[in-house]
Symmetry: C2
Subunit: 218 residues, 2 copies
């Protein structure tokens, strides 16, 4: 393939959300003396699954010009209204603790091979490398720092006030980089993402990752 | 100052447009056997000055929703209609040669201390570092590669379909990064840029650079 830009899904494809969310919740449980009372891994999987449902719903139903809820806000809403009640954790968490859990999404570690691989792929006259993520821009900047991911530029669905798999995100990103969709390649570990990118005329590379959510993202 | 984001003017502040444009034009002159017939430095200064006039005009008069001419297109227009005639170079240049001259703007070298200084300033929990340039996004990506400039993210006036000193660019960039203007600092070698950023509530740092254009940018 002779693509001019390679864009990468981030959450799950380049970074390990599951470990990140589990550890962030375990910290809360330990602080409250509740370690072992709730399955922190189940909490992680629930939150990720509801995130996937949330962004798909926005992608399918959002109208141009409609108020846009970025991922930090959406995740906070899902956490407090769905995830904590569902895993049965009724302990009262402070606003700061809730913020810290949401901030956990800014702080995922990369899958081990990713930082070095990205560095190897970067070449002065090679294709552009960019994330194409449902993370908002602030979240992406923080993730890239924490996970040591070096890109040429950041493209976030936030710039297009929607979420993947809305076509506006893929086509917006290609326009943003001034490359044609047919010479842009999405690398992702989620079929829904691959499928949507293909429909927009992108080339795609599917990357298998262990430990995905219960099939919904995979 | 305790700013959450530092944004940098690029052309002239971080990179050396004058050497870049002079050398690109000298190549053309040599190829055509015209070396010494036209002052390549004067060519560089003319083009930069007309660029400054062009972007100021757009910034002052562009209306939201109006078709936007990005910097590659604007520079090409200025080169062929104003700069080449003005420096008296009537030799017929091919489209490829014109493109290569415009591409010269993607290819400026950094002022010598800049790459290492940017690397030193980057800290995991430190402020965001980003360019805030009139370069379009593709031009910025290329510049960052060629000049070895490492940022957390790229902010370009192209995202806001205008040019500095339009307030929409400064305020748009702050919103893009989700930081308040009063904790955002612009670093620039041009007074017009500093003045416009201050009006938007930014903190500013003026950086003196030798070899600016004939005062208009300085």
């Amino acid at each position: 393939m002779d693509c001019k830009a390679y864009v990468f899904d981030v959450i799950g494809t380049l970074t390990d959300w599951r470990t990140g969310l589990r550890e962030a919740f375990e910290e809360v449980l330990v602080r409250h003396g509740d370690a072992g009372k709730v399955d922190a891994d189940a909490f992680a999987v629930e939150w990720h699954e509801e995130y996937m449902k949330g962004v798909r719903q926005v992608a399918a139903t959002a109208q141009p010009g409609e108020p846009y809820m970025n991922l930090d806000v959406l995740l906070r809403h899902i956490l407090t209204t769905i995830v904590l009640p569902r895993v049965g954790y009724t302990e009262r968490l402070s606003e700061t603790e809730i913020d810290a859990l949401v901030y956990g999404w800014h702080n995922f570690k990369a899958h081990p091979e990713v930082p070095a691989q990205l560095r190897r792929w970067r070449a002065k006259d090679g294709p552009y490398l960019a994330p194409l993520s449902n993370s908002n821009i602030k979240m992406l900047v923080d993730t890239c720092r924490h996970a040591d991911l070096q890109f040429d530029l950041l493209t976030s669905s936030e710039s297009f006030a929607s979420y993947k798999p809305s076509p506006s995100v893929y086509l917006g990103a290609a326009k943003f980089m001034a490359v044609e969709p047919h010479v842009t390649c999405l690398v992702a570990a989620h079929y829904y993402d691959i499928k949507a990118a293909k429909k927009c005329g992108f080339k795609t590379v599917y990357l298998w990752r262990q430990g995905r959510s219960r099939g919904i993202g995979g």
